[in-house]
Amino acid sequence: MQVTLLINQTQHTLEVSPHETLLSTLRRLGYFGAKVGCDTGECGVCAVLVDGKPLNSCRLLAAQVEGHVIETIESLGQHPHQGWKQTEGLHPLQQAFIESGAIQCGYCTPAQILAAYHLLQHQPNPSEAEVRDALSGVLCRCTGYLKPVEAVLRAAALLRGEAVPPLAFGDRELLSLPVILQSPSDADGTAQFPSSEARTQTKILPKVIFSPQVPQHQRIGKPEKKVDAVKLAQGKPAFAADFEMRGLLYAKVLRSPYAHARIKRIDTSRAKALPGVAAVLTWQDIPRVVYSTAGQSDPIPGPLDTFSLDNKVRFVGDRVAFVAAETPEIAEQALKLIEVEYEPLPAVLDPAEAMSPNAPRIHDEPEYVNFAESDPTRNLAAHIHIDIGDVEKGFAEADYIFEGDYEVPKVQQAHIEPHVALSYWDEDDRLVIRTSTQVPFHARRILAPVLGLPIKRIRVIKPRIGGGFGGKQEILIEDVAAHLTIATGRPVLYEMTREEEFIAARSRHPMRIHLKTGVKKDGTITANAMRVLSDTGAYGCHALTVTGNTGHKSMALYVGDGEYRQRPNIQFHADVVYTNHPPAGAYRGYGVPQGFWPVERHIEKIARALQMDSLEFRLKNALRAGELHPFSTAWSEGREPRPEVIQTCGLEECVRQGKAAIGWDQKFGNPQWHEVPGKPHLRRGIGVALVMQGTAIPYLDMGGASIKMNDDGSFNLLIGATDLGTGSDTVLAQMAAEVLGVELEDIIVYSSDTDFTPFDKGAYASSTTYISGAAVTKAAQQVAERIRLRAARMLNKAANGSGEVTPEMLTLREGRVFAPDGRSVSLAEVAHNALHHEDQEQIMGVASFYSPVSPPPFAAQFAEVAVDIETGQVTVDKLVMAVDSGVIVNPITASGQIEGGMTQALGYAVCEEMCYDEHGRARERDLRHYHIFQAHEMPELETIFVETYEPSHPFGVKAVAEIPMDGVAPAVGNAVLDACGVNIDDNPVTPEKVWRALQAQRQEQSA
């Protein structure tokens, strides 16, 4: 049917099918600001304005909006500088989102801005609650909503003509801190949704406790705007699927309805005969190459147990066939025409039964390649046993032994941009894969044998990424598009649906954990043992390394006190088993949240049993600076371990700062505070968890950087590091700008492209700021050295024999090179001299970095809750996290990481889990049932950075990205215990679990 649509004041007359959504039409017409997120209206990233109202274009038919006025993000604002052309510049909302750090991955940003635009049209002076309500329809998995809310409030003030305080740090102290636009109003701590008042104190800039060791910098430590924010605020076509290509085919994947089955027969003839179908591939059509989908360095520390397509399916959702067709609808239709005869096999759905002698064997393929102690005959994907010291001796020396069983669930990364890849042959017959990946270089290496191509004939381009959180540290979909491109010779786009994300993408490993701890009467831990049963699902991707980190980080924190500090007794034992569940994999935190739930719940119980102050007990036994990381001599991601001494640990100060921020001393142990006046069914509680993470994988993770100087004194920074929304491009540019003495805007960052940027292992293991940042710094230092050499020559030539300078005497700042006496040349002059005038050379630097250590960040996580003792409902009112991440390069992006991480971790604490029925079918298949926190239901969030100076890095940094995932759940669990005296040992802490525990408590008390 023909429709005429008025989009951004331009009339489009076009043919649409009756079922075509407005989202599909918009993207077909090149309006890529409307994003694909869920297709069911829950995520809201496809929102556009229809007659001024924010509507989800995935839930509108194109035909429905004929006769209406459609405005997309492309109608709002422009880049302020477009050569000779004057523009109106960006809209104040876009400007505020950029300045407030409200943009992380930027995938949801256009929709957030449009929703806010609508609000401000109708309510120029909104309350914080109104802003949160307006943003409620757009899910964001990165920010925790705090900065987007602040951005809208600031934009509203600007549009009203009010003065808005600038966001700026001064030298070594905060000049504008914090901007509080509305005070917390939850006077009784019992706010129920929906509240007419705001419950969140809003702050853009975190509190930073500076270390006296940190030298003064020009760019490091400053809240610089993200280098990619301007394009993201405008909804520019920056993501993998925002791409137009002639002859594009759309891929779909037929997925298994069985948890475990052999494919006896598969007939694709009817599907192939469907007009518009270009290719149908089954296991019979492509080479049988065994590999691992885990995006890790070579050799992959895990079994090779996966095929692009196989004659056996191992979970509900496993791949059966690939289809490429002219439209997504034809591809869908073709899937239904593929006839498959399955031979259902007995399934393993309980990890506890996976290793029993009678259990069905999930991997019986002869091509299976073991790694270390994996044993497919026992459904064992990985096995770890670590003894540090002598736990039996430690237990014997203890006055008390505490044991407990804990469980953590399978959860989803739920990045709002689905997995998406586009592949095509270029003019040199090289295969180009434009993909939303965290690991472009690993993807290239791993795909080469799978596709039958040498590495040199594959180019992987990583555009902007709409969130990954570990889910895209996986070679999950690139092979689908690539096989179909090879089969058809045509470009192919494969974009997973939200349902596929839930049933077939990766997730956090669920685990069952037993803890045993020996303690002396004075609170000294004498021994600690953890036994883990981890469910990797049908494939062993990340099986060994995720679970290894469960022990490596969480069991390293409490070494004991006194003599035990030098000789801790720790045992870690893990079996990682195959089941017929969807595979687990990498998810931000990488096994560590699974470890800290049991450890911190357990430690809390011990402290209470000993009647010790729980923080005092923790700090008495916690690892300190100058001590050996206990696991560093025992395990290193399946590679040779080497000893590491902790150089910096700000844990005690984190505790001090966090306690003060949450009012611990006024609340903990105060019976009056625990009661809620007028609400006898509510009890308040406060809880804490101490956590540590790592920073990269020592002796393994490597990042490279290349910097070249341009005529105007600007620099191209080319990095393989993979900014997936975290802001790593920005902080790496800040490091380069610091060394080169220029403004951030003079660093033009490009990441990542396997053809053009140096190798980087990718975005995982909290490594980019530390590893890639050091590489950038080294490359910048090389460039600075060349600049000084030439500048000295230029200055000496101009001085004509008087006032000779040597390169070492010169400093780079403000875009110039200064001699001690104040003479200077500009970088543009140096560049011109180098490129055009004299002894010509391209000033550039290339460097790489790997580290012999993995310095841990530390943190104290606090939570405040209200528990309804009649229903078990838990409301989290406040989260405070005080973090030692070394020197903070950019407080606005770093605090964004903490806020977003705490929000994801809050879901892990109270609502997120993936459950399966007796046939292995998923309960959660969409974002309606898999609930992630929305803007209008957030607790108050507060971030504090306690700086230390990590000597192994040129700017003293440690990691920030993953540690916020670790402590929220146990802090909430401990707060629930504090509120009502019950222990929930398996997260999430749901109302029914609390209610059942309360029932049991009452029965116990009455008995």
């Binding site: 809201g44 924010p54 038919l61 757009v138 229903t871 609930h931 109302p991």
Partner: protein
């Protein structure tokens, strides 16, 4: 899959289209509840041109056009605040601007806060072509029948009715595990509905006294088990929420 799209200018034409047997034809309100990608061929009748998007107060009664959006209803000045809260629980900002009142009621499952609240309020639905009025409770009981060849045009509620709601969920905005709505008429009539479970909201009580309310609530959810909660839990919590609803009504909070 949608194979036909119609936007009739009159109610008569809309009803005529909806009464076709082939292809199966469904009304299209905002589009938030309709399955665009279903396997069966489907025709849709877009209701936007029918002028059913008005909300009017007539004395103590509120007449709500079926294609009014949830946001329009939420913003209506005299709306009971608890109904506004239920709407906010039902849908986030964008979806509220898109979802229609008629569509939301027609598609409400047991976890629909708006559906539960409207059931407690004893909302009355006008159906075409007969132009007959049915209660929302009766509609839910025979939903499939009413949805075939019929069209909801108006919804009416009594603005004199007091409404309170209570709920339990994993987070403040998550789907409710139990949602309770208690309505009280000036005559003293009480009507209590529960949600959070099942294919439709559940009417628990319609009568004069509050005695037995808690027991009725517990009893109504005594078998309310699914993959999200046990019946024992839901039953107990339903009783607690029923008690709280009554206490709030009684105390005027």
């Amino acid at each position: 899959m949608i194979i036909e799209y119609h936007r009739p200018p009159t109610l008569a034409e809309a009803v005529q289209l909806l009464q076709r047997k082939h292809p199966p034809t469904r009304p299209l309100g905002g589009g938030t509840a309709l399955n665009f990608k279903g396997e069966e061929p489907l025709a849709v009748v877009d209701l936007q041109a029918l002028g059913l998007d008005a909300i009017e107060r007539q004395g103590n009664r509120l007449q709500i056009g079926a294609t009014s959006t949830l946001q329009q209803l939420m913003e209506f000045p005299d709306l009971p605040s608890a109904l506004g809260d239920a709407i906010r629980r039902q849908a986030t900002y964008n979806l509220r601007h898109q979802a229609t009142v008629g569509g939301s009621l027609a598609s409400a499952d047991g976890r629909s806060p708006f559906g539960v609240a409207m059931l407690a309020l004893d909302a009355q639905l006008t159906l075409m072509p007969e132009q007959r009025t049915v209660s929302y409770g009766d509609f839910l009981a025979l939903r499939e029948e009413f949805l075939t060849g019929h069209l909801i045009t108006w919804i009416e509620i009594n603005l004199q009715v007091e409404l309170v709601t209570e709920s339990v969920a994993r987070t403040p905005a998550d789907l409710p595990i139990v949602f309770a709505a208690l309505a009280r008429w000036p005559s003293g009539r009480l009507r209590f509905a529960l949600g959070g479970w099942g294919k439709t909201p559940t009417l628990v009580l319609d009568g004069q006294g509050h005695e037995g309310l808690r027991l009725a609530a517990e009893s109504a959810f005594s078998a309310a088990a699914d993959e999200w909660a046990s019946a024992a839990y839901r039953s107990q919590v339903a009783g607690v929420l029923a008690k709280r609803c009554w206490q709030r009504l009684a105390s005027g909070i």
